[in-house]
Amino acid sequence: MKHLTKNDRLLFIFFTIMVLAGPIILAPFGAGYPDLLQRFAIFGLFAVGFNILFGMTGYLSFGHAAFLGVGSYSAVWMFKLLTMNVIPALFLSVVISGLFALLIGFVSLRRSGIYFSILTLAFAQMSYNLAYSVLTPITNGETGLQLNLSDPRILDAANTTGSIPSTNLFGLTMNSTAKFELLGLVFQFNVGFYFCALILIAGFYIAMRIARSPFGLMLLAIKTNQTRLNYTGVNTRPYTLAAFVISGMYAGLAGGLMAITDPLAGAERMQWTASGEVVLMTILGGVGTLLGPVLGAGFIKYFENIFSKINDSVLESWFSFLPEGLSDAMVFVLHFFVGKGWHLTLGLLFMLVVIFLPGGLMEGGTRLYNAFRSKDTKSSKDEPKAAE
């Protein structure tokens, strides 16, 4: 059933609380610092938007990082030219990435399936290469687009401090953080994170409304049977294009937020690996579910953070209790799975999830929930949890 219910409201309230309490909940796991929390929120938003296209219509785009990059560049240009206030920057990010998505979607959506994926991949790689070479006046090529003291910033008052100003929301600077210590843990409440979190929550709400709207039902119908939908009097092309543009705007918004939390934009943000990452996030979390993509994004960013920090000396200290030869062997083998080799671990995790939990983490959650339910009530046949 695809109609907004009490369950949806509960899910939304639960989601809001979990996101807002993020700094408290994640502090004991060593993930309670602003930089990582911001990444959770930003990539969560990116994945939620991607899911509107991939999860609902079934069109797998391999080029969404292009919109992320375009969003970042737009935001930084706004910081350079107009003001350090984040609102105009985000506005431009969404508009430009939306227009860009309209253009790419218009061409790519003439094909479906693997051909669509290849077309989007080609467009994204083209954008990446253009940003590196021809478009250097706009993108500043390899160095990446950065803020300068000499930038005009028309709306901001004359800068007399001699340092580059920080991004702000009407004076509230994004990088200010309040710290509290309790029970030996440091809780950090960062303005930038809460700004991203509120946008994530708004994005989640909109995605939820879309999923429960007539438009959302049409998108699901496109995924299930386009032939029938055509013979039912529905023109599928504008629907897929709208879904593509909406998800492109989400990606642009996420890119804008990246620029807000760290005001520079580089071409590597548009590379195909970044596009692939959001696909992984969505599948890992659960394609077509509302919560799944956010979970997948959090999961990948958290483990990336942990595994990439482990280096050989950390490994050596772990295995120091073993005899010399054995500990060296362990370090030699595990060396490939940590630090820069963390993608190997991610690959293995991804394979395990796809093979054993095709519905992603959400399916795992649903299975656990059902297992507990049937233990408690002794009734074997339960409705699956509202995982949609």
Binding site: M1, S213, P214, L217, Y231
Partner: protein, 251 residues
């Protein structure tokens, strides 16, 4: 004046003359059957009504409007619905959602960007869909996933989806193909019931004579892309040309 008018339709696939100067007129409110042996061009003919194939020459007009050169979704919006040989339904969605979609398409047209309005608040659509399910006796299956329905029920659902749009013309492409005798009889009953309740003009393409003779008011027999006989069912049965087409040359 006839409702669906086919005049001089020709279609060639390479060396094969699939349709050879086909003329056909379907009266409003009747069931018109098109029968013929395998390869007679029945499906090709149907595909020219729905925007899937464009004939090399000839005209297809429906209610005074040409159906040639416009897309399937536009043809549906004109009021032509189609039931497929193998039921085309939204198999991953619930039975109710399957009927809601055509109701939405009927109300909102071929595209409407209403991404923030809640479906659950749209009582008109829901009531219409639920009433349709009651009409075809499927209300108890409304929350089932469509893929888990039996073949007969899938066919029933597909018809419900088409009927929920109140089409002016319903095209049925071998509605009983591959069905067991019991299912076939159910489908005949369903069609007869629909005909009684709603006088929708229907064109039925069939293979199974049994289905056609109990339903149709008029039958066109197609052989090798040509209409050889067009008459009432009782006159078709013993017609020598029909026997020849089905059984090969008479000795």
């Amino acid at each position: 004046m006839s409702y669906l008018e086919i005049r001089g339709v020709n279609k060639r696939f390479g060396g094969l003359q699939a349709l050879d100067d086909v003329n056909l007129s379907v009266e409003a409110g009747t069931i018109h059957a098109i029968i013929g042996p395998n390869g007679a061009g029945k499906s090709t003919l149907l595909n020219t009504f729905v925007g899937k194939l464009t004939p090399d020459s000839g005209t297809v007009t429906f209610d005074g409007q040409s159906l040639l050169g416009i897309k399937p979704h536009e043809i549906n919006q004109v009021g032509v619905a189609r039931v497929f040989q193998t039921p085309e339904i939204f198999s991953e969605l619930s039975v109710l959602d399957n009927v809601i979609i055509p109701c939405l398409a009927k109300r909102d047209g071929s595209f409407k960007l209403n991404g923030l309005s809640l479906l659950s608040r749209q009582a008109d659509i829901r009531e219409k869909a639920e009433q349709m399910l009651i009409d075809v006796n499927m209300q108890d299956k409304r929350n089932m996933t469509a893929s888990s329905l039996s073949r007969g029920d899938k066919r029933r659902l597909e018809m419900a989806m088409c009927l929920s749009q109140d089409p002016k013309l319903l095209l049925l492409d071998e509605p009983t193909a591959g069905m067991a005798r019991a299912d076939t009889n159910n489908t005949i009953d369903l069609l007869a019931e629909i005909q009684e309740k709603r006088k929708i003009t229907k064109v039925v393409i069939e293979h199974d004579m049994h289905v056609v003779f109990s339903l149709a008011q008029k039958i066109s027999v197609l052989a090798q892309g040509h209409v050889i006989v067009e008459d009432k069912p009782e006159n078709i049965k013993g017609h020598p040309k029909v026997k020849e087409a089905y059984l090969g040359g008479t000795s």
